[in-house]
Symmetry: C5
Subunit: 354 residues, 5 copies
């Protein structure tokens, strides 16, 4: 389902900085997962309160706090207070209609983007807003619901102790970003398939449901594009930013994600190009079919209408119609009934109507 | 109703700086509301003349003067004289066909934009030009008519004494800007709904009124876009401006409004994309319907025309037609009347025409 | 009538700097009007020769020389010689197929643009090239024909002695520019009206003349756009230019003209957007009508073709047709003639064909 | 005939710098014309070998060598050797599928562009590649074939001894450039005419040949655009270049050519805009015609089908048909035959189908 | 076959820097060819292992290692280790869904692009990713399969000992780049031909297979464009890069390749312009045909339907039909049967329906 285009209207009129959760995901319990690691150690646990987070604040190890579910406004507010996050950032985290963007603040970086995944059915794309706060040795991620999109990241952290665990918060942020961007590829492949099957349908047998499907794909593409294309700017922003939080070595990796984002955006544009043409093909194909039908009608009508006229003539009741008495008139007419259609059919075939 | 595209022609030919009210809003009385506040105090009252405003000029408290109705040219002129406003700015305030823009002057900032609201009926958008003059400790707003679009702002001022009331004129201007931009979101949601319902209509039952409606939406979108999209530039101007009237702390908030404006513009562009495609769907859908109708006609005609020809044959009055005397000729024909249509129908179904 | 797209071909092949008048306006006598003014004095008179102009060259008062008609090549050449104007500029003044542009020379500025006015009939736009030479205390304007487009400016000069008359040549140039740009607004309003009436026609009753009219509007818009849209660049050039001939105070006014030019260009773009869609509406509307007609044909044919077949059956002359002898066969058939159409009509209405 | 889009494939695979002539112009003899001039003298003669050129190399007079025909690869190679031209430049001169471009080398400038001229028949545009080498006091021009496109330039050189002959090689290059750009204008005028006549055809009587013609114009425009639009960049390059070979005084003239190139490009874009719309008009016009035809068919069929049914009824042979015996039945039917069509016609006219 | 749009999904979820081959080319053995040359010597041989490459690393001669087949991940990894290549670059070499790009590293340059070649059948384009690593005196090329696209380059190296063999690795890279870009030209020519033949088909005899073919061309063009157009940026990057690995003399040659890439991209854009218009022509052409068919039907029906009605009248069995007894009624009717069609035909021809 294409995401609502705007819908921030629910909050219109509130004073700026008001912390209210705005979103469409049904209210769920909030789950806080803490992953704390260093080259030597790795710990993952689910915690209950902000106080538990504070315990990790002043350690040397890297800490990743993943918050799933955005209804607990007090929690977000407490994190903001303890980690010195600007109220507008907290507001953006809670309002899930953000445009993907990157903001550099004094002691932290704020990134917000959409993770897209397609469910069982092909055209039901799942949009989820992911906010990332990058602090020194600390990364917060905020998600709308409890799912497993970060399982891969955790798995990597747990298993590859070498390079990954020795890196700082910027590298963790990169891996998270990379895993979100990589989720766009299977989605594109799915779209590819749907569009190709629609294309075949169109040429073979254009129908009203195909029309509705094209429109649905188009809407979905517009919606996907709005979620994906600002990511290039976001990454450009990160690459240009001179915050000490991002090391030069990590930028090489971020450039790689940027290349991926570029490829995804180009793929979406190609899809749009193709889908835009589908309606024209639909109309062409329908016109084609109608032309076929018209030809049949014309051939039928053109052959039988003159014949019917002829038989009508000899159905008239005039007293003085000499032909009616002729011995061979009736058989002669039958010859005409056979010759006329043959002549017309040959003529029509010459004109390429048959 | 889409706003007239230009219509500044009423004034063409007058010398520059001539103060004349140009607009479509019927002449109303002018209402001047003064809101004077500091952290400690809050006062709101309706006043009658410029002299009453001057009383607030040299106090330390923040003063917001909201002028509703632009027919009292003398009033505007007097404000210009007392607060040292350039005649061209006064002219722009009075001429309600301005393009949203931002101008930085020595002792004040001038912003002009459109507030958009949709009335009861969905596609009747209400355009109102709002001019904002930001001076030191003083904000003027000029509106075309008396309505309640600033009620929220006043309400916030009255109730949240803390942060809001301790800020300067730039923050008040930000809150006003924010409240105007936030009004675009419900409008977008309304458009969303209309477009979706038109889309369904199109696929199910395309008709001439749908066509007219699509054209109306298109026009309205063009008109809305012209009012909304320059706001990004306006806000970029404000963000880049180095006037001491705008504090750095406020810029963070203005950037937030800028993000909102960006989202609205993107939403409008998406709407335009979708609406542009609707006409193609309309044509496709109509072609579809016509194809259906054509098939029915063709089937009916193709089946009965040959049969009618056959019955015509035996309605002829030739003397020598041996079949007419045969005992089983008539029942045999009836068999043909049943077999021929069945054969044709099977054939047509094979060809996917039925 | 849309202006010819190029048509400078008449001059192709001549050496550069050749002074030849190139234009479509029929040859007229040249009229030279001099307006000489200072805060204290105002004088307007028609003169005959270049020598009369020279009399004003070395006075302190501001002088505006308006030359209407471009066939007197010697006159232009003499002005060039006396006022030290580059031959290429003189060539551009005489060739009335210039693209609007601004050129900064050492001792003068050169501006060329199109004044557009619509005559009685709505779509007959009148294009006239206006060249402006801005020197110290001296302004030349060159026009193709004698008309009253500068009457307003002279009227203002004559009446408002205060500010206007104390300003230099840059301010006069601004007022002239402003009056030309202001002439675009009523043109836009006229276009607005034509397009709206075409739109209504289209939906109600699409016909071949409407088609021709749409194409004419499109061509006119392309032509207007080519004359108007370079004016933004022209004004940008003037605003950026650092010639002492343009005072800073005047730039504020020029920025105002720039805003107007921006509004006009946006209006043209909106018009183009709307007109581009009109052809699609035309096709949609025609398809709609055809669909209606097709339905009627189908209903008529589908109802009467089977009935005609039935009456054909009982018109056959077989000897052994027992029904022909039955007492109630004929009335029973009449019942069928009534029931069959009713059943079909109900069926068609269910299918939404009626 | 639209120029082949690429066709450099003939040379693909050769080592870079290989001097091979690549082009479509049939092999012709090469003609070398030398024009040597100073303020005092003017000499034009046809020479045979490179050695003859060398005689002019070290004189003070300006020399223009015009080489027509590119099959004599040795000649080009010898020029390259004697005048110190880079092999890649020589390669570009010989390969006539170059994109117009400007290259600044140490001791010379290289320009390559297309001269376009239309032959007798309107849409048969003639493309010829012209390369210009500008050295100190020496200009080479290389053309594909022998024609008279430079006659004007020679004529001017011969006759106007004053300014022209006293200028350097940059001014000669400017005059050549100017003469090539000026050749685009008559071409545009021709296109203008063709498009206008197609437009009229379309509205009056759309047919298959018109369709083919539109497609041909479209292709030609794409081809022309590819030859013409890079000339703006070429001239920008020349204007920005700081080589001592180009004097400041000449740049003023080159800016004039740049303005012309801009106008041509804008004209092509306008043409494209118009031509793009022509197909829509074609479809609209065809739909219109078909609608007319359909109406006639529907009216004919709708009027006569019911009447035929009625006469069929009374052609039945039932024994008990009381009407057949009535005295006034037949005349009464005739009244029906007249009344029914009139009623239907009035109805149809009301529905605007006639 | 158009290349899959994205398809990097196979690798989604793996940790960054994981060396896995991602591609569609069936697994083949890897072939390593070493070409070692200096002005004096030239040696080409096929080797088996990385160790054999290392033998060439520290010699003064230029070495080109061409690796065909990307399944041997260990090999790539070993090269990376020995030549100090960043893991992300190795990953990009192995993943054959890269966007063409250029990366400058400290001791080497990395280029990746697509070579395109068309097989026997015209629209079956063959995409192959080619990665180039440029080190000091060492060039690596990585290809997906074993083919002969570099035969030309080797041939040139072997034969022209002079300039080519005395140049460094940058010149070799240039020749390889040039040979890849030159392969685009024959492809464009092939496309040119296909499109032209489709165009002719369209106008003469539009059919469903033509429709499918247009869509296939469109998809192929989108795919080709995605492979080709980033090459301009790639070359811009190379030209701007200040690495000592690229000598100034070579940049002149690279600028030449850049010009070629520009021409190819422009050709693709022109093709796209043309193909986009083809569907409109298809619809126009189909409408045309349908119009023809409709006219025939209408003429047939309009002529015979009234006649059939007339003969129906005199087939009625009323007792009192005086005409039936008239001597000349029947011949008179025959006159009508001839006159009425003639009159109608003349009328139709006047209306341009025949």
């Amino acid at each position: 389902m294409a995401e609502s285009l705007t819908s921030a209207s629910e909050k219109a009129g509130l004073p700026p900085g008001s912390l209210v959760h705005v979103g469409e995901v049904p209210e769920l319990a909030t789950r806080i997962t803490v992953v704390d690691y260093s080259v030597a150690a790795f710990e993952e646990k689910i915690i209950e309160s902000v106080e538990d987070i504070l315990a990790y604040r002043d350690t040397d190890s890297m800490t990743w706090v993943n918050i799933e579910g955005l209804i607990d406004v007090d929690l977000i507010e407490a994190i903001g207070r303890h980690f010195n996050i600007h109220p507008l950032v907290l507001e953006d985290i809670l309002n899930t209609h953000q445009r993907p963007k990157f903001e550099e603040h004094d002691s932290y970086l704020y990134l917000v983007m959409k993770s897209l995944s397609s469910k069982d059915e092909v055209l039901s794309v799942n949009y989820e807003q992911v906010s990332i706060l990058v602090l020194h040795n600390f990364v917060f991620t905020f998600k709308e619901k409890q799912d497993d999109i970060f399982e891969h990241v955790k798995h990597q952290l747990k298993n590859s102790k070498g390079r990954f665990r020795s890196q700082g918060s910027d590298y963790l942020a990169y891996v998270i970003l990379d895993s979100i961007v990589d989720m766009y590829f299977p989605l594109q492949d799915a779209l590819d398939e749907v569009i190709e099957s629609v294309e075949e349908d169109l040429l073979a047998n254009p129908s009203a449901p195909t029309l509705a499907l094209i429109q649905r794909i188009k809407r979905e593409l517009i919606s996907i594009r709005r979620s994906v294309s600002p990511i290039r700017d976001l990454l450009n922003g990160v690459l240009r930013c001179e915050s000490p939080l991002i090391k030069d070595g990590t930028k090489l990796y971020l450039r790689d994600v940027h290349d991926h984002a570029l490829r995804v955006t180009e793929a979406i544009d190609s899809h749009r190009d193709i889908v835009t043409g589908l309606l024209d093909i639909y109309i062409s194909s329908i016109s084609n079919k109608m032309n076929e039908v018209m030809k049949v009608l014309t051939v039928f009508a053109s052959i039988f209408i003159p014949l019917t006229f002829i038989v009508g003539i000899y159905g008239m009741n005039f007293e003085y119609m000499p032909e009616l008495k002729w011995r061979w008139a009736y058989p002669a007419l039958w010859v005409g009934f056979i010759v006329i259609p043959v002549v017309l059919l040959v003529y029509f075939r010459r004109k390429k109507w048959l």
